[in-house]
Subunit: 211 residues, 2 copies
Amino acid sequence: MSESLPVPDVARRISARLAARYAGMVGPETVQAVVDDSYRRLAATATITQFLPSLTARFAADRLAAIARAEGVASAATPSVLFVCVENSGRSQLAGAILRALAGDRVTVMTAGSEPGAGIASGVAEVLDEVGIPVLAEYPKPLTDDLVRGADHVITMGCGDACPVLPGRRYEDWAIADPVPGGIEGMRAARDAITARVEGLLAQLRTGSVA
Amino acid sequence: MSESLPVPDVARRISARLAARYAGMVGPETVQAVVDDSYRRLAATATITQFLPSLTARFAADRLAAIARAEGVASAATPSVLFVCVENSGRSQLAGAILRALAGDRVTVMTAGSEPGAGIASGVAEVLDEVGIPVLAEYPKPLTDDLVRGADHVITMGCGDACPVLPGRRYEDWAIADPVPGGIEGMRAARDAITARVEGLLAQLRTGSVA
């Protein structure tokens, strides 16, 4: 993490906007620090060159929402789930899209990668579209402590020891192999295996057995 | 609207998923009718060929959320705003993205077009990125009565008489010319003019003067 990487002027506009949105929940200094850190982390992956400011705004907004939840200043009426895999390009994106499609706004969904990849894996959008599930404008993003702190449930897939463990969080590891080497068939198999697990998770969330 | 256009099998999966999400709010027959109609309307534009099932799922979900709000069975704690322009590719997309960036989840934002275009207008993502605002995965979609009924505020830009007027809704027409002929400079000017108006709207929503 290079703290010396210069942050462009547009980051100040993003900070001002997010500070207004999170007024009374997260202080403006924290907002600016999260925005700057988000920019530097995304820039450091070096694979995202277009739309870096707007991706920074999205990533920072997700982190600030997680911080507000963790500090108890935002509504925690809906359970929050963080899916983590290695690149945040395949498995965690499948799981996030499937849970969003099943739960709508009844669950807060976050995704991250221990070593974020260059983009969404080939075939993810296609195999989800086959079952009528949108992926929206997702992008690989790094795993940060604030996302973990803001999650009631952390579900890991293949990232081993890279995921930080914090007291009080509920952790689960799903044994889903990296689907990328299996091509489109591997992606379909991962989609179906993850769907079954997400349905089980959602049923548990509904009965409150893991809430 | 061709009611005879066949709807693919994946629409049944989308309906089942959305019926579960809206259980107790919107009946399964209505869910299926909205999903089928959403598919047919998007297919009829003939410009969206890829990812039609997942776009159907998104469009139908937005309409069902609007129906649930209009019928008072979903939380109406946050005000909802519908932006309408002609193609849902330029002005209404700018306004929607800007309001989402400023308000976060404190406002429900919808957009539609009286004659949906083929895609998001060139330059929209670029001029928003210049100020650090994401557009997410937006797409032109038709104006439907259910979206209007589910909106507390309907803001039109250039669509003339094509926008249905319903009793009880608050309407406002913003005089913003089509930015597309002006190229990237026209898009920047529209962005700034719309930003000023959205900030005014948001200030009014906050004080409750138009809520």
